[in-house]
């Protein structure tokens, strides 16, 4: 966490405490061929929020997550984390991919512990920490299994455990359930909500990208709608329904209608 803090002056610390977890200021992203794909986007995410980003393909949803985590840089504007400008990969974040991104030659335990190697932890500590998150996502028993032996749902649990193991404050998820069938996806959504609501983890803020309106309302405290070419945020809906949310409740369907009407 120290990489985004650099002074001990009380004024700076106070400013940091008052600052939101994440702030995007007028960010834009263009590719080297000058095609402008994203922005300008301004956005404030407070600690503890579950933010869902929804929009058509090509709206730059994935690019937005990559700029937030620092995997890609912005062309203009600023990404602020707790009030500090982030250059390079933000170590307080982790990203879960739709494609799972597991290494086929490593077993579950090794895949999960991998991210900790880069953080300079010794092997016993890596494995004990990895085991904790493997248990949390319901993967104990699978430690020695290889990705090829796992169903899509189990592979994504590995992806989730690997992201949580680095204990990020902010977890970014790029369509994590869209490669899965409806039952497996629903099971994993429940699991994610259970973990997040139990407050047993360092990670308390989540930004999740999806193309499913229903998923957005099931999960989010807030749903951001994006439009394409270039990708911008066109609406910001608070979702205040009680949890656990019931798809069949009138309030749920009302919200569903409201969002659908804005997308079409």
């Amino acid at each position: 966490m120290t990489s985004v803090q650099d002074t001990s002056s009380t004024a700076a610390l106070a400013a940091q405490r008052a600052a939101p977890l994440l702030e995007l200021k007028e960010i834009t992203k263009s590719f080297p061929n000058r095609i402008h794909i994203l922005g300008p986007i301004s956005l404030v995410v407070q600690e503890g929020e579950f933010v869902v980003v929804i929009g058509p393909s090509g709206a730059g949803k994935s690019t937005l997550l990559r700029t937030i985590t620092g995997l890609t840089d912005v062309t203009s504007g600023e990404v602020l984390y707790r009030g500090r400008r982030i250059l390079g990969v933000n170590p307080n974040t982790a990203l879960v991919f739709q494609s799972f991104a597991l290494f086929p030659w490593l077993n579950v335990m090794e895949n999960v512990a991998l991210g900790l190697e880069a953080r300079g932890l010794e092997k016993p500590e890596r494995y004990s920490r990895a085991r904790r998150y493997i248990d949390m996502v319901g993967l104990d028993g699978y430690e020695r299994a290889y990705p090829r032996e796992l169903s899509g749902g189990m592979k994504q649990r590995v992806g989730l455990a690997r992201a949580l193991t680095v204990e990020p404050e902010l977890l970014c998820m790029d369509e994590p359930f869209s490669g899965l069938d409806a039952l497996t996806a629903s099971n994993l959504r429940e699991q994610l909500l259970d973990i997040w609501l139990s407050k047993q983890i360092v990670t308390n803020t989540i930004i999740l990208v999806t193309h499913s309106v229903e998923e957005a309302i099931l999960l989010g405290d807030r749903v951001l709608l994006m439009a394409a070419a270039p990708g911008t945020i066109v609406a910001d809906h608070p979702i205040t329904l009680d949890r656990p949310r019931k798809r069949k409740s009138p309030q749920f369907e009302e919200k569903l209608d409201e969002l659908y009407s804005q997308i079409v």
Binding site: G138, G141, A145, M154, S186, K248
Partner: protein, 171 residues
């Protein structure tokens, strides 16, 4: 450890993954009442034959009640939905030992094996009396998936052996 036993038909293990089974139970729980299986597969955008193994597996494990084309959550299924991950695993373990012949067989082979390991071929031979080779492979894949989740036994793809994880860890 190979026994020459009179071959009896082994009940087929429906080829369903754990995540799908728990997902089905959660969906039925949200549903609240019984639902026509055909309608359910439509609402989930599943082909009927894709949903079948999942409903059959849930039935075999005692988690649902299926009657004249309708399915609903049984009390045990509700316990799975409401339980935390450890409670879920315990219920799966108990139900597998009670209702899944293949799981019982592998577990007892493991408990009586001198090194607590059993080769894949021993189990394939056991299955060979009831199934074609490719179905036997599918049965093994499914039982390994369930057993890992239930922490009943594990499988080492490097050596092609089943083993008891708690024993291996203390060894």
């Amino acid at each position: 450890m190979r026994k020459t036993k009179k071959p009896t038909a082994i009940p087929v293990l429906p080829n369903a993954r754990i995540g799908s089974i728990v997902g089905l139970l959660e969906t039925l729980n949200e549903q609240g009442t019984k639902i026509d299986i055909y309608k359910l597969s439509e609402s989930l955008r599943f082909e009927h034959n894709e949903l079948m193994p999942i409903t059959e597996a849930s039935d075999l494990l005692g988690f649902v009640k299926i009657e004249s084309g309708d399915i609903e959550l049984a009390d045990l299924g509700r316990k799975v939905v409401d339980g935390d991950e450890n409670a879920k695993k315990t219920i799966f373990r108990e139900q597998m030992l009670q209702n899944v012949v293949l799981a019982k067989r592998i577990r007892s082979e493991l408990e009586s094996a001198s090194d607590l390991r059993v080769g894949r071929e021993v189990i394939l031979e056991f299955l060979g009396s009831s199934f074609a080779p490719e179905e036997s492979e599918r049965q093994v894949r499914t039982v390994v998936d369930w057993a890992r989740y239930a922490e009943l036994f594990d499988y080492d793809p490097e050596t092609d052996q089943f083993f008891l994880p708690e024993m291996a860890e203390t060894a």
